[in-house]
């Protein structure tokens, strides 16, 4: 009994350390200390559990530690910063699967002990099951092992409805008679099946929302597992992670002006409406040499990166360019849209990796009031997040979405491969503005060419 008390005391200390860890993530100055605190909380919790007297055999634990620990370390060191979204998706899936296995073991050994236990077991395997496969599909899409485009087929809605109904009906049967091992397995199987169908219709640009939602689910599963095995620490941590996912999902959805339901069930990418602008509009192209002449005289430049910058791996070239601009007496800032990239904060990590100081990275709301005074805005691989149609064109599918007001700058450069539309499949009005110039070609090569111009001008 006193052992139990002692373990719970340590769990309280761990919870406090986790909370402080998250608090310190509130600023880049203290964030690393926060990560250390959080990790020490984890170590304490593991040690307290290992030596509280319940554990009688250590050989399987040791095997698990070695396999999981070495793979974890390997992946953490090998993953490139551009691969972060898929790494995160993989971790969501692993966490959820571990929870499901713990639930399963508890059910296999003890059965469902009472009504609450049956209900939490049911919730846990449903959310856990769909998080495992959903994260798997998200991982596949992000790492381009599965096509990133929405996968749609006829009868999809009916199939989903059928699966959900089956999960609910079988769930009620299971809760009434929790001794039915067969139902337990069928519910788990169906939930895993549903996870696949939940994520395949969602397109690449909606991935920030999907990852956030799955993050929240992985927390909820830890929490329900805490109820199943009566572990307070799991409940505390699960709630923290669940809250994290919910907050990030809300931020992402607001930034796209859409509801979570619309992202998950809407399959936005499939509804490509031609906004009937048949009038001939001409976008004005510009050569790298002319662009250089403008940049050379610019006093302030704002760089607006999007997922295209990550694809072209242009972030290091971008830093070089901004160094030359600064040497030239120009003020350089970066404007980061909340949904730029494939997950929340993706652009910030890529730019930080290229050694760009974080005080130069500005959020959308911070940069927009300053855009009027900017000489040149350089849009690199971003499209929909700078489309002014969202401000005035009520017929546009992205009407109302908050954007970075690149068009307010004196001159806008758009680095793009071609005139193709962005993810939302809509024309970008910005390209036809009088102050906008298109610089066609691979973003990385274009920027390297600009850097070369700066280099040669200094001799």
């Amino acid at each position: 009994m006193s052992n139990e008390f002692f373990t719970n005391l340590i769990y309280i200390v761990s919870s406090v350390l986790f909370a402080f860890g998250l608090k310190f993530l509130g600023s880049p100055v203290t964030a690393r200390r926060g990560n250390m605190l959080s990790a020490s909380g984890m170590l304490l919790a593991v040690l307290a559990t290992l030596f509280n007297g319940h554990i009688i055999s250590f050989q399987w634990i040791l095997i698990g530690f070695i396999i999981g620990g070495s793979l974890g370390a390997l992946v953490a060191f090998k993953a490139a910063m551009t691969q972060m979204p898929e790494m995160i998706a993989l971790l969501h899936g692993c966490g959820a699967m571990a929870s499901v296995f713990v639930d399963w073991t508890a059910y296999h050994v003890h059965g469902a002990t009472d009504l609450t236990n049956a209900i939490t077991l049911y919730l846990s395997i449903v959310i856990g099951g769909l998080t495992v496969t959903g994260s798997g599909i998200a991982w596949g899409k992000l790492s381009e092992k599965i096509p990133g485009k929405p996968i749609l087929f006829t009868g999809q809605k009916w199939l989903n409805t059928a699966i959900i109904s089956a999960i609910v009906i079988l769930g009620i049967m299971f809760i009434i008679n929790p001794a039915r091992y067969d139902l337990f397995l069928i519910i788990l199987g169906l939930s895993m099946f549903f996870g696949i169908f939940m994520v395949i219709p969602i397109g690449g640009a909606d991935m920030p929302v999907v990852i956030s939602v799955l993050n929240s689910y992985s927390g909820v599963v830890a929490c329900t597992t805490g109820f199943v095995i009566h572990n307070t620490l799991l409940i505390v941590v699960g709630s923290l992670v669940g809250a994290n996912g919910i907050i990030l999902s809300i931020i992402m959805c607001k930034a796209m002006n859409r509801s979570i339901g619309n992202v998950i069930f809407g399959a936005f990418g499939s509804v490509i409406k031609k906004t009937g602008t048949d009038e001939k509009k001409e976008a004005k192209a510009m050569s790298v040499e002319d662009a250089f002449l403008i940049l050379e005289n610019a006093k302030s430049v704002v760089i607006i990166p999007g997922y295209g910058m990550a694809v072209a791996q242009a972030q290091h070239a971008v830093r070089e360019l901004s160094e030359f601009l600064e040497k030239n007496g120009c003020d350089v800032k970066y404007a980061i849209h909340p949904v730029a990239g494939r997950m929340p904060g993706h652009m910030n990590v890529l730019l930080a990796e290229a050694n760009i100081p974080y005080d130069q990275l500005l959020e959308m709301d911070a940069i927009n009031p300053l855009m009027d005074s900017v000489d040149v805005a350089i849009v690199i691989g971003a499209n929909d997040v700078v489309n002014p149609a969202s401000r005035h064109d009520k017929s546009s599918p992205i009407y109302g979405m908050p954007i970075i007001n690149a068009d307010k700058a004196k001159t806008v450069f758009v680095l793009k491969r071609s005139m193709a539309t962005g993810f939302a499949g809509i024309e970008n009005d910005l390209f036809y503005y009088d102050n906008c110039r298109m610089i066609f070609g691979d973003a990385k090569q274009t920027i390297q060419a600009l850097v070369a111009e700066f280099k040669s001008s200094q001799h």
Binding site: S15, A19, K23, L25, P28, V29, R32, N35, S38, M42, A45, V46, T49, W60, I61, I63, G64, G68, G69, G72, A76, M81, M84, I88, L91, C94, G95, M97, A98, S99, F101, T105, A106, T116, S218, G219, A222, I229, H230, T232, L233, G238, S239, L240, V241, A243, N244, I246, I247, I251, I336, M343, P344, G345, N348, V349, A352, Y358, D359, E363
Partner: protein, 94 residues
């Protein structure tokens, strides 16, 4: 343990989570997410019990050991990758 007591913990932790996480700037949202992955690996304490106390047959041994491995993967992978990312965030040195 009493259900009501566990629900109490749940309610307060959700509140704490919202209060803490809404203060994290968008700049750090990716490390925040990998940190969340790492602490989600706390399921390792459940996995330890599954593998060390309840593993009696082939199925429970498999489930318990896999759960320990998966949760450890989250803990180690999550904390290390968060550290790697946070190390890159630098202020302008002038």
């Amino acid at each position: 343990m009493d259900l009501i007591y566990l629900l109490f913990i749940l309610a307060l932790s959700v509140f704490l989570g919202f209060a803490l996480i809404s203060r994290v700037p968008p700049l750090l949202h990716t490390p925040l997410m990998s940190e969340a992955n790492a602490i989600c690996g706390i399921i390792v304490v459940g996995a330890l019990i599954a593998a060390g106390a309840e593993a009696r047959g082939p199925l429970t041994i498999f489930l318990g050991t896999s759960a320990v491995a998966l949760a450890t993967f989250n803990v180690i992978g999550g904390y290390l990758v968060t550290e790697r990312m946070l190390k890159m965030f630098k202020k302008k040195d002038k």
